[in-house]
């Protein structure tokens, strides 16, 4: 029942997004602008070979983090602003609403990553020595960002200063996975999979599990008045 309802929420959000393209346009436009700016200002040649893994890893996750801040809050904010949240509250089990919205945000972030990451690697001549580790870090980092953003979006959707509050709450909550993701990306760029790289993956996995579980447990209280 919950999975079927979550699938309905997910499909509805995708269909609505496909017809308006508001969130995806905002995400991609922001990501592309920052990408061009970073490519122009820093570029592959202005960094020493030693600095490249560290600086490029940080820049990549900055682009992904701020892109997420731009568009992922819409999942719940839009429901409150258009007045559809009440009907959704009355009709759907809270867990299915959260799961459907989380899947929608994961899909959006997945599209952004699929566009941004290859472009970033090409623009910055950013070589990856351990692609398996890199993909694992991207996937787990993406889940962490999407889970935290979805939950925070539900909290801020009923407040007046939605955008500002979203950033204020998201920044401290997303710092731990971002640090782990930057470290993991840096290790993936410099050498083969190592214990330190796997530590970053473990940390991201633990964060994702904790974030998703806590969100499911707390969502009912956040979603209802």
């Amino acid at each position: 029942m919950i999975l079927r309802a979550a699938a309905a929420v997910f499909v509805k959000d995708l269909r609505t997004e496909w017809r308006t393209r508001v969130a995806i346009n905002a995400l991609l436009l922001f990501a592309f602008s920052v990408l061009v700016l970073v490519g122009y200002a820093v570029g592959p040649t202005r960094l020493t070979l030693e600095d490249r893994p560290v600086v490029n890893s940080v820049l990549l996750w900055i682009v992904l983090f701020f892109s997420a801040m731009t568009g992922l809050s819409r999942s719940f904010v839009n429901e409150e602003e258009t007045g559809t949240a009440a009907a959704l509250r009355l009709s759907a089990p809270p867990a299915s609403v959260f799961l459907g919205k989380l899947l929608g945000n994961l899909a959006l972030l997945g599209v952004v990553m699929a566009v941004v990451v290859p472009l970033f690697l090409a623009l910055m001549s950013f070589g990856i020595a351990a692609p398996g580790l890199f993909l694992a870090v991207l996937a787990l980092g993406g889940v962490g960002i999407a889970a935290a953003s979805t939950f925070i979006a539900a909290i801020v959707s009923k407040t007046a200063a939605k955008g500002a509050l979203f950033a204020v709450l998201a920044t401290p909550l997303l710092l731990p996975p971002l640090v782990a993701a930057v470290t993991g990306t840096q290790i993936a760029a410099t050498g083969p999979e190592s214990a330190a790289g796997l530590d970053a993956v473990r940390l991201l996995f633990a964060y994702d599990g904790l974030m998703v579980t806590a969100s499911f447990l707390l969502f009912d209280a956040v979603w209802r008045e």
Binding site: R4, R15, S91, A92, P93, R224
Partner: protein
């Protein structure tokens, strides 16, 4: 199912909007809620729907055949239908897609014929509206669609808040038909200022 409100009141800050009130709905009967603008009709309906917590008292559903059974309205998904000025459906979906979505999240898999039948039951032409997004409907057409949504899950209790607003003569007949249909399976709470609609009520609560 009976909807039982016991000493229910609601305040916003220091201002009490209504209450304390006690009443119960009975299957097959219509409870009218009357009152001037600002008397708290919409707030009362939201409390009955579980969309707002009461400041004091309780609202619950009781199974008429099982004395003593109690279900909080917030745990009674699908048992309560709601139509109100505050209700909005998804503007980017067509009327049928809207009804299909709300049926699916409530755990039902309606056929296309069932959805079109429900749309037709409130006087809308399902074929003409098949490819029209809800945001392009007129206010009256959207109100009729909200009526269709409110009875989608065959609720035990139907809460109607100003159901005739923005409706023409045929729309008012659709409201009467919905109320008559609901009498056959449960109860209705009808909050309105319209004397013609209040005439449908068997009992009345005045705020």
């Amino acid at each position: 199912m009976r909807l039982v409100a016991e000493n229910v009141s609601r305040s916003f800050g220091p201002r009490r909007v209504f209450g304390p009130l006690s009443f119960a709905t009975e299957p097959g009967r219509v409870l009218g809620v009357a009152g001037a603008n600002g008397s708290g009709k919409t707030t009362l309906v939201k409390v009955l729907a579980g969309l707002l917590r009461p400041s004091a008292g309780s609202v619950r559903l009781e199974d008429a055949g099982r004395p003593g059974s109690r279900i909080g309205v917030r745990e009674a998904a699908g048992a309560i239908g709601w139509c109100a000025p505050d209700l909005s459906l998804y503007g980017e979906l067509t009327p049928a897609e809207n009804l299909e979505f709300f049926a699916r999240v409530a755990g039902r898999l309606p056929t296309r014929e069932e959805l079109e039948e429900r749309i037709a039951s409130v006087g809308l032409d399902p074929r003409r509206l098949r490819s029209i997004r809800t945001r392009f409907l007129s206010t009256g057409q959207r109100q009729r669609l909200k009526l269709a949504y409110s009875v989608l899950s065959s609720p035990a209790v139907l809460l109607l808040d100003e159901p005739g607003s923005n409706l023409d003569e045929a729309g008012h007949r659709a409201v009467t038909a919905i109320v008559a249909e609901q009498r056959g399976r449960g109860s209705v709470v009808l909050a309105t200022n319209d004397p013609a609609e209040l005439a449908l009520a068997d009992e009345r609560v005045t705020l």
